[in-house]
Symmetry: C2
Subunit: 294 residues, 2 copies
């Protein structure tokens, strides 16, 4: 049983991951914002991050941790000028404060979350938006904190994570939610290829990253979390259409692609000893089953 501190625990991946961690006997503390809404769960300890080092330090003073899993992020393609400072605070400063506290209180395992949006046109690094740039910026800060080897880190590069109990306003969720009401959607031409990774597989990846961390070749190693093959957005919607049996009303091409749309994702080294198990068809079917049962 490990003592785990997790950020982003109230988000889509965080909730699923916490559930699994608790189920497998781990002790979970979630670092949350004062504004986060949480259902009080006796199995989770909540601590509040007030935006200061003192509030992070207080968490480490109360308790020892084996691993910190860092999922919290302000993740969006567009960033208004007023959002720049909060985005840097969430995506860079919070993680840096965590690493500092880990160093100070002797916690040595860190799992970080990165994004394939850092890799426009397959470049080793070319971000498509400020969010992706801040993710790379934070990887660079991890490189400092892991330099002397007292902290070891894995950054997991995520692709398009999808699944059940997903509160995000992502297209798949909106299509499923509105499948009986004939709502019309204006979309891009839809030829961009996506690597869809099912939530249960992503949760597996975080668990595997925790286990594999002592064996990584570098103090900070970046691994991809992706399954086999990509699908165009059009293919994905068509598959969902077949599974639901209800045709969607979609105006393809009514919206433009992102200015730096990734049309064909690139793939770095995959997390060792981990494989995505759930195919896209299976994943979509599971979502629809869970949706029907709820």
């Amino acid at each position: 049983m490990a003592q785990i501190l997790i950020t982003g625990g109230t988000g889509f991946i965080g909730k699923h991951l916490i559930r699994r961690l608790i189920k497998t006997g781990h002790n979970v503390t979630a670092l949350i914002r004062p504004t986060s809404e949480v259902k009080d769960t006796p199995s989770i300890t909540y601590r509040v991050y007030e935006g200061t080092y003192a509030s992070v330090e207080a968490v480490f003073q109360k308790q020892s941790f084996d691993t910190v899993i860092h999922l919290a992020s302000l993740a969006q393609y567009d960033c208004s000028p007023e959002q720049i400072a909060p985005m840097i605070e969430t995506n860079i400063t919070l993680g840096t404060l965590l690493l500092q506290a880990m160093k100070q209180y002797g916690c040595s395992h860190f799992i970080n979350t990165s994004t394939y949006w850092q890799h426009y046109r397959g470049e080793a690094y070319q971000p498509i938006c400020l969010y992706a740039a801040t993710k790379k910026a934070f990887e660079d800060i991890i490189d400092f904190y892991t330099l002397d080897g007292t902290i070891r880190a894995i950054s997991l590069t995520l692709y398009d994570v999808y699944g059940y109990e997903d509160p995000r306003n992502k297209l798949l969720n909106l299509l499923i939610k509105n499948r009986h009401v004939g709502k019309s959607f204006d979309l891009s031409p839809g030829e961009q290829k996506l690597q869809m990774t099912f939530i249960d597989d992503v949760v597996d990846a975080y668990i595997q990253a925790m286990n594999f961390l002592p064996n990584t070749p570098k103090n900070h190693t970046i691994y991809g979390v992706y399954g086999q093959g990509t699908y165009t957005l059009k293919d994905i919607v068509a598959m969902l259409e077949t599974l639901t049996g209800a045709p969607f009303s979609i105006q393809w091409g009514q919206k433009a692609y992102y200015p730096f749309q990734i049309m064909d994702p690139s793939f770095g080294k995959k997390l060792p000893h981990w494989e995505a198990k759930v195919s896209l068809k299976e994943g979509l079917s599971i979502i629809l089953e869970k949706e029907a049962a709820s």
Copy 2:
């Protein structure tokens, strides 16, 4: 005559650079902190950065700029936990807000300041301290803002900049200041090699970077600002001793090296069409002459 916005204008390099820019007919606006002390100079326009995008935007609304020269930084090897947030704010957020305003108001030339401390043991990237990591992090953010080519940037990698009228508590300044009072100094063993670059040469480099920016191979290009050869700290002090004729009282080895001391700096591509003109001996002599004349 170019319209230039400069940050860090009240620092050592900034003051020298502004003087040269004004002397060569440029129009200089200095973005300063509310706490910065400035002597009112009719030839410089001062604007205040309040830590917000609104305060940066106000500067660009009042005036058009051809080039932004970004020198402001919180530059130090050690960083207490409480300094992490201010360091990220100064070294990452401020620059990002500048780039955002440049994008919004059509300013297309950006000169940034990086450090050789980003290159422990000659690595393409391995920072020796958080300051160096934040410098790299900001380079990553520049990569996003220069992606579409409307903004072009050069990051200048600086080494050990020294010179006259230097208010910093650096060793050379302290030795010169105390050369008649027999003050004793506890230092590291002193075998670390340093690339000393004279302030006038560094000012030349910023001017040359402005001129060269339209011809760089990439939208964001990183160039080194360094002269020929390195000297150990011991050699440098010995040279200064010879020039002043006064022996210093130094206990070599009484202090430890930095945990990740760079013993032998590495050198990336040098800024094209620029050469350091001032040798270390000449530079030290100029400092002593100016010191004697003042």
